[in-house]
Amino acid sequence: MWDNISLLVIAPLLNVQLLMDGVLIGAIFALAAYGLALVWGVTNVKNLAQGDFVIMGGYIAYVFTTLGIHPILALPVAMVLMFGFGWIIYRLIIAHVIERDLFTSLLATFGLALVIQQTLNLIFGPDVQIAESGFDILFLFGGQVTLAEIKLVALVLAGLLAAMIVIFMKTSRMGQAIRATAQNARAAKIMGIDTDRVYAFTFAMNAAICGAAGVLISMIWVIQPFFGISYSIRSFVIVTAAGLGNLPGVIIAGLGLGAAEQFSGFVLGAEFQQATVVGLLVLVLMYRQIQMRRQRRVVS
């Protein structure tokens, strides 16, 4: 471990490499996490199938490459398809558990995750797949730092998507209705907002966002039917750290998590890359606990 840290000191450009790799992939984590925060905040459903939605998006991009179409064109298609899928899933499953307790909705979405995994496995088989973007690799600092262009493209697209979502939420009628429902569903209902429709739209929009994240992931990393869980966990960590309805927080937490993974993988070894994610979750929860205790004291 100390060897690796001293390496980072001797060759500072390694830090640049790790930071860039981490931050650029973190942008995609942030995208998926924002979707989760949206659904969580509005419907109070904690979607355990979040990562599996991401993987579904990845497979849509993969299908595009097998058809000889550039996977980046799969982005809008994946969003539309996943929006439809999300709407159907809401009507079929989520609508029935939304009023129930926490465990019912957790179980329902966990079951959904299993069904998605196995269905993808039946259709595409268990082998890993990639969507090849064909973009070049950039050399920085005299070739000591390499950067895949697709990661930059993904960052830009993720940023654009986030901006679009923010504008949508602020200006459109549906966006306002979503925010109103998140604040107080009962009051929103009394004001004539069709909250059921708002829930359905929110869930579908989340699926669409995940689909987009999946398309980007499939062009950068590899996808496999059972990889969804790691994206679900990352989304939960980011949302827990950032809090609901806090988009800047989600973005910072996403980028930070991506970078933390890379550095811990480098310093502690790849086996700790994901352990770090869970470790951070524990730290965040502890911090929150302490914070809340303080608040409770003030109130009393």
């Binding site: 690796n4 390496l7 060759a11 390694l14 490499q17 790790l18 790799d21 992939i25 496995n121 039946l122 088989g125 268990p126 082998d127 890993v128 990639i130 090849e132 690799i137 050399f139 070739g143 390499t146 895949a148 992931i217 990393w221 590899v222 996808i223 496999q224 039917p225 059972f226 990889f227 869980i229 790691s230 993974e261 890379q262 550095f263 811990s264 993988g265 480098f266 070894g269 790849a270 086996e271 890359q273 994901q274």
Partner: protein, 413 residues
């Protein structure tokens, strides 16, 4: 109202199955047919390779039945395999092995796919003293339990990448350095198979006094190893070895390219399964990939002729195969072992057959087969192939090599 309870479903399924297999009370030999049993992964995460293995079993059964069957006690018998789908889960595999032995009366078993499933099933076959010839469980830990009824035709997992260490040593000596100058970077998935592979590499590296500069364990749901590869880039080892099933091979190939890793020797398992030559054409050039079997080897034996003949027959029988996976070839070899042992035992007594299996010493299209006391095959080496101009060429061991190893590797990033 009729409620469909799980117990009804289970009972219905059991009835349906027992009807389907009616008359299998004494299923080891039915009339003129010898029944072999196998729980195999036809669905779930191992299904790709499970189906390869099943095709291998079926091809050998067909071939043996067409060429005179199995002669026991002067009578010719046909072979048939009863399969159950273990859904790629060990617990289900163990249950199904119980069912094959207890309910279906199977006395001769063929193995499942993967070390994990074999580990789950071996205690069951051992308990009932039912011999099992397996072709897809390579983990060394299968052969340290003192099992008496387990026989494996394939090379054990610690041999997968060990030959690349030897090769790196030889190359160092040829270039005027010492084998002990070689610095190794390792990235192995944290699963029993890959850790066995690692143990083999460690052993050989220690023997030659090589230095290990990176020893990373990759997580199971691995999709990124750029942190490990950044370390490789900084430390410039002479040899990089990677094992993490096909996801490891695909991730490594993709990120080797992205990070422009120029390590002169890179060896990894599962190149074929990850289709690295097709998906990462430039980056895969010069990779060293171990394999249990290759159609270009000069092995040959009775039933199928040469390795090349087997390759042709397999492709003609099953559509959709561009190349024959070794998983299928070794499954066929396992069936050949059964025929050979049953004929030598000249009996259906499980103990006699077990002793005949243990005395197996045969040449096949898949290589030599001779079992150690622990049950693993000691007569067939792992071969190392290098990807040269997009094709796999055998480069080690020297006896079977068709091409010289290209050093340093020449990826076309």
């Amino acid at each position: 109202m009729f409620q469909f309870k799980p117990i009804h479903a289970a009972a219905a399924a059991a009835v349906a199955l027992s009807l389907g297999l009616a008359g299998t009370a004494d299923a080891k030999v039915e009339g003129d047919t010898i029944i072999l049993g196998s729980a195999i992964s036809l669905t779930g995460k191992y299904s790709t390779n499970g189906i390869h293995a099943q095709n291998g079993y079926e091809l050998a059964v067909k071939r043996i039945n067409e060429t005179g069957g199995v002669t026991v006690g002067g009578k010719s018998y046909k072979l048939k395999v009863v399969y159950y789908d273990d859904e790629s889960t060990p617990a289900r595999g163990a249950q199904l092995a119980e069912r094959l032995i207890q309910q279906d009366g199977v006395k001769f078993m063929l193995g499942p796919y993967s070390s994990g499933l074999t580990k789950a099933i071996a205690p069951v076959t051992e308990k009932y003293k039912i011999p099992m010839v397996e072709a897809e469980g390579a983990s060394r830990s299968l052969f340290t339990q003192g099992y008496k009824y387990l026989f494996a035709v394939l090379s054990t997992s610690e041999q997968y990448l060990a030959s690349s260490i030897e090769l790196a040593g030889e190359i160092a000596v040829k270039n005027g350095k010492k084998a002990s100058d070689v610095r190794i970077a390792m990235a192995f998935e944290n699963d029993p198979f890959s850790q066995d592979v690692r143990a083999g590499v460690m052993e050989d590296a220690k023997k030659l006094g090589m230095k290990i500069v990176i020893d990373d364990k990759l997580p199971r749901d691995l999709s990124d190893m750029s942190a490990t590869l950044t370390k490789v880039k900084a430390l410039k080892p002479d040899l990089l070895v990677v094992s993490g099933h096909s996801k490891g091979a695909a991730t490594a190939a993709r990120q080797l390219q992205e990070l422009r890793i120029d390590t002169p020797i890179v060896a990894m398992t599962h190149c074929e399964a990850a289709q690295v030559t097709a998906k990462f054409e430039g980056a895969s050039e010069g990779l060293l990939c171990p394999t249990q079997w290759a159609e270009s080897l000069s092995y040959s034996g009775a039933a199928f002729g040469s390795a090349g003949d087997y390759d042709k027959l397999f492709k003609a029988t099953f559509s959709g195969y561009k190349s024959v996976p070794y998983q299928a070839a070794q499954a066929s070899a396992a069936v050949l072992v059964w025929k050979d042992a049953l004929e030598r035992a000249n009996s259906f007594d499980t103990l006699k057959v077990r002793n005949a299996l243990s005395a197996t010493d045969m040449k096949t299209f898949y290589g030599g087969i001779k079992f150690s006391a622990a049950g693993n095959n000691t007569a067939k080496p792992m071969v190392l192939r290098q990807i040269q101009s997009g094709k796999y060429a055998v480069v080690a061991p020297a006896k079977w090599a068709s091409e010289k190893v290209v050093y340093p590797r020449n990826p076309n990033y």
